[in-house]
Amino acid sequence: MRYEEWNKISRIASRKSLWMLHFCTGCGAVELPPVMTSRYDMERFGMGPMATPRQADVLLITGYLTVKTLKRVVNVYEQMQSPKYVISFGSCPINGGMYWDSYNTVKRLDRYLPVDVYVGGCMPRPEGVMNAFLELMKLIDEGKARGWEKYQKYYEQYKRNQKMAFGFERGKNEGD
């Protein structure tokens, strides 16, 4: 079987069994329990929560990210197996949101991690969240959700930005 065809089949298979990582990074995580449990029940889409990053496919950035969390999120993202996808919730990861002038939150997520799908709203309603899942499935089907390839390709740029946010290049905390 040729590589492209195999790719296509694996995409169809992975689209129907996306496991999301159970990591509540911000306040958007409060709309995840309704999505995960009986009222919206995302298992209808074949999605389920997964505790370990090694087995998860989707990383949900639920809202704002503080610098301290970003370090963990980057660790977690790098532990995940490819193909892996990132969904960002709400306003904060797009352009800072409510915390646009805060000293401790990173404002634009796409400078540190490749984002596949953005959901609007503060909080996004569960319907919005489900729309994002459906959109991600569509993108995977079409082979367009390629954030992880982008992360590999521009790894140096992403690493540089992450280090800048963590403060290494500001020259103030070399000791860390």
């Binding site: 990582l21 159970h22 990591f23 509540c24 990074t25 911000g26 306040c27 995580a29 409060v30 709309e31 329990p33 309704p34 995960m36 449990t37 009986s38 009222r39 929560p49 505790a51 990053p53 704002y64 503080t66 301290k68 969390t69 963990r72 977690v76 409510m98 915390y99 002038d101 805060s102 000293y103 401790n104 939150t105 503060c122 909080m123 309603r125």
Partner: protein, 375 residues
């Protein structure tokens, strides 16, 4: 035996949100615990100093995610005190309704996640599903499911829609029916008796000194509730009894209090209490205005002074310390979150000597909510 270090969180289903506990473990007994927070620190108090009095209203509700209304209430009361405003009667009743509904929703979430930590996965599905009906009410009343921005200084933002009391009554009676099922699955379940009794004990004489508040304090046998001690809104008009250990209704009193078991039973009983308060408030609600006229938001100046207002949230005592110097921006707003003591000092102390398998249920039974530790 050799001692191991163990990190629980921030990416872990067994902690109550985005926080971390650093545990030293000997065998499977915890010998030392250290709380590591700051993953959700957004610098609210700094942000509030650079926004004016009205612009802070959408900000404060983001401090506690599962139950945002207590923040709005405490902030609004503090500003009203500084402005010397008397708010309309109807607004007070609507405030009680929404605060109690939010309390029920928060308790359902806490019960659901606690049951999840015991491995009883039926109850998270039920409780969080039923909580969603309360979010439906919030949406029709306030225009948003989670962050309501509804209690404003001077009243409430919108009047209650005419058909809403009917929906609330229907949801409440549905919840009452469901609570019987919860009892069968969790609160009268043998697994719960065997696992929760005597776990996570707060020493009895120490509870007040350690700053334990809310349901956790009432589970220790102290009948202290801010709704009774310092009645705000119209709580002095409502007829309710403070639930405390050992008055646990038709639930068995299996221990001498202060443990995970009693804390969860107190939460379960307070849902019924809240249901009765909502019913009373809906019944007694007068007609009239729902908000007083605000000054121009952009030029609104608040007289100088200190104000401290407390409300009872589902997690414990919430306090807002507001300092104004007479300008259009606050000098300082300090928030006292209930989890500040529960999550850091109390948890660090009572986790010592606990079994590894019980760490998660102790944290869920204390109802630690990291956003209000860090703000």
């Amino acid at each position: 035996m050799k001692e191991y270090e163990l990190f629980i969180g921030p990416q872990h289903p067994g902690v109550t949100g985005n926080m971390m506990y650093h545990l030293w473990v000997d065998g499977d007994t915890v010998t030392k615990a250290e709380c590591n927070v700051g993953y959700l620190h957004r610098g609210f108090e700094k942000l509030m100093e650079s926004r004016n009095w009205m612009q802070n209203v959408p900000l404060v509700c983001r401090i506690c995610v599962p139950e945002p209304d207590v923040n709005e209430m405490a902030y609004a009361m503090a500003v009203e005190q500084l402005m010397d405003w008397e708010i309309p009667e109807r607004a007070k009743y609507i405030r009680v309704v929404i605060l109690e509904l939010a309390r029920i929703a928060a308790y359902l979430m806490s019960i659901g996640s606690y049951a999840g930590s015991l491995g009883i996965y039926t109850l998270p599905q039920w409780a969080l599903g039923d909580r969603d009906y309360f979010l439906d009410i919030f949406e029709q009343l306030t225009g948003a499911r989670v962050y309501h921005i509804y209690i404003w200084p001077g009243g409430v933002r919108w009047d209650m829609p005419e058909k809403l009391p009917g929906l609330i009554e229907k949801t409440l009676s549905y919840t009452e029916k469901r609570l019987k099922l919860y009892d069968d699955v969790l609160f009268k379940n043998r697994i719960f008796f065997d696992r929760a009794v005597g776990i996570g004990k707060i020493p009895k004489g120490k509870a007040i000194e350690w700053g334990v508040t809310g349901p956790n304090l009432r589970a220790c046998g102290y009948g202290y509730d801010i709704r009774k001690l310092e009645p705000y809104a119209v709580y002095d008009d409502m007829d309710f009894e403070v639930i405390k250990y050992p008055e646990l209704g038709d639930f068995d009193v299996l221990s001498d209090g202060c443990d995970a078991y009693t804390r969860m039973i107190v939460r379960r009983l307070e849902i019924e209490q809240s249901i009765s308060i909502v019913r009373q408030a809906l019944e007694k609600m007068p007609e009239g205005e729902h908000i007083i006229k605000h000054p121009n938001w952009l030029k609104w100046k608040v007289p100088p002074g200190y104000a401290f207002k407390r409300v009872e949230s589902s997690k414990g005592e919430y306090g807002y310390f507001v300092v104004s110097d007479g300008s259009n921006k606050p000098v300082r707003i300090h928030v006292r979150g209930p989890s500040y003591t529960h999550g850091v000092n109390v948890a660090e102390t009572i986790l010592k000597g606990a079994n590894m398998a019980d760490v998660s249920q102790i944290l869920f039974s204390l109802d630690v909510c990291p956003p209000d530790i860090e703000r």
